[in-house]
Homo-oligomer: 348 residues x 2
């Protein structure tokens, strides 16, 4: 078994980069012209033969050039990620700037759109996970006709509206009192900390409106559950049509379906979190992707944070020959922008 010396590695990278641009198997002549050191096609061929034996590249058929295998990409990506701490340059490129918006969901969708546009791949993004978030306050307002509006605001300024149907009409004053009561007891707590004890205490202090309190708390729980369902936004799905290897047969259809249904994407985003990586970048290549319809794709994910414990994930979905370097850089830079935006929001 031959060993992976530096020259073989250079050739492997050359193959990966060429294939990245062309999408077609690359041959020995091409590499010979591409490399800085002068080597004849024949020599390259020998090296390629070794690389194939080692499993880093394959030929689609006997008389074709070589394309990288998952293992080849894996090596390349691992090297890239560890060589990280690249010296500035920052690659801002045609990076659009994120316009400030107040509603978190809007922001997330905008981010997905921007990422898709910048990378030419598909982008996905999850809403922030609630759970450990502190409840900021609840606001009850009368809507007439026996209904009240319950606005639930939690840390990170995530706002949810719920319209509650209480049979009776309730007086302004009672509602105000209830409002104060609820906020005094619940504000600052995480969702987990709202125990039965606290609930019964509240009901005890205003047993007249126990039923309404129940409904309000249900609404709070509902908001949580709805958010737990982990809203996923996608954008740039049509970008996959730019990569022929993803559009053959029913592949395009299945991919687009998956991106629209969104449920399966949860698999990617909810997989093992415990990573020690410098910036929580994860790369899934081909078969590593935990979604069946995406076995021909690669997915790069990153984790964002917007407050203690409130975090979500961003993912870029593209062909296996995607420009990993660019995608990783773009994700990192997007993260920084996000950090700025959210710290802005908390300061000013």
């Amino acid at each position: 078994m031959p060993t992976l010396d530096v020259r073989k590695e250079k050739i492997l990278y050359a193959i990966i980069q060429n294939y990245q641009e062309s999408g077609e198997p690359v041959g020995s002549r091409t590499i010979s012209k591409y490399l800085d050191v002068k080597l004849s096609p024949a020599t390259i061929r020998n090296e390629m033969s070794d690389l194939e034996e080692m499993g880093y590249i394959v030929q689609p058929h006997t008389s074709a050039g070589r394309i990288p295998t998952d293992k080849g990409y894996r090596l390349y990506v691992d090297r890239m990620l560890s060589e990280r701490a690249l010296p500035a340059e920052q690659r801002t490129e045609n990076q659009f700037l994120i316009k400030r918006v107040d509603r978190v969901e809007e922001l997330l969708m905008q981010m997905a759109r921007i990422l898709a546009a910048n990378t030419n791949y598909a982008a996905m993004i999850t809403g922030p996970k609630y759970q450990k978030t502190k409840l900021k306050f609840i606001q009850l307002s009368p809507m007439g006709e026996g209904r009240i509006l319950a606005v639930v605001v939690s840390e990170g300024n995530i706002v949810k509206n719920n319209i509650l149907n209480i049979g009776e009409d309730i007086s302004q004053e009672s509602l105000l009192g209830l409002n104060i009561l609820l906020n005094q007891n619940l504000a600052g707590l995480t969702m987990d900390e709202i125990s039965l004890e606290i609930i019964s205490k509240i009901k005890h202090e205003d047993d007249e409106h126990a039923e309404i309190i129940n409904k309000v708390l249900d609404a709070v729980a509902e908001s949580i559950r709805e958010n737990d369902k982990m809203r996923i936004f996608t954008s740039g799905a049509p970008n996959i049509f730019k990569y022929p290897e993803l559009t053959g047969g029913d592949k395009a259809s299945e991919l687009i379906s998956t991106l629209e249904e969104k449920e399966p994407l949860g698999n990617i985003v909810s997989s093992v979190d415990g990573e020690d990586g410098r910036h929580d970048i994860q790369v899934y290549i081909g078969d590593e992707v935990p979604v069946d319809s995406m076995k021909d794709c690669s997915v790069v994910t990153a984790t964002y944070e917007l407050g203690e414990g409130v975090q979500g994930k961003i993912g870029i979905i593209g062909p296996k020959r995607m420009d990993y370097q660019k995608v990783v850089d773009t994700l990192k830079s997007t993260m920084s922008q996000l950090d700025v935006i959210f710290s802005d929001e908390n300061d000013s």
Copy 2:
């Protein structure tokens, strides 16, 4: 020029229905077997020749069967719509039931999903148009750190949140006063009716907080503008892959892109409203569709209403050979369901 007698019409319908199912040009033999009256292929051929001369059908090439033209479909659809008032039967089929939800946007997205699933075409739906809606009330809440939450609720229970950044912190009492002041002056008005006169009157009554009032009114305006942008939801885009005639060349890509971008769809939904039709059903066939990437499609739209003046549109997008009957029926039945849901919401 031959004239369109009842037999020719029957043959035309037979062609349309066969083509609907198969997606392939239909020949004289097929029709001969399909019709109830016994006619030889030769006779059918003569009639088809006439139909072609009249422009209702064409041959893709010399020795192929016939397919309907836009004009043919138009005739068919017009007949169908006027023959309307079909005797019950109701065609409920595998119609899923709409689960009640409180947030209007959720409801709309769910409807789009259901329509797409029921019809096997793509569905689009616009959020309700604001504009003539009456403002129900505004609710201001302190958020700390110099910010307040402004919740704008309008008729039809459309709720919008805005986080406002006022420099200073404002006292609970002032905010409450402001709240009451704003609601007294604005509640029940349509967006158009909030004139400069009213605004200056409000500011006059609490000139200390004039700036905050400005910001709140800006937020109201912003909510309107955001809503005027007419949010469009789509679903079932991948369904187009089921129709080969829509997936040749770049068509699929363009269609999916259009459905994701959504902007162009505004053209469909904002076109001439003034229709006297029994239930506001509009059918666009092929070239009639006001969106370039959809010239090979047909679009059926319907208008829904959820309060005085608050209305939006639903659209089904499919191949020209779509099952118009089914689509129209499905849309109508969905409308009825919607009516029930919204009236429920207003009664109980």
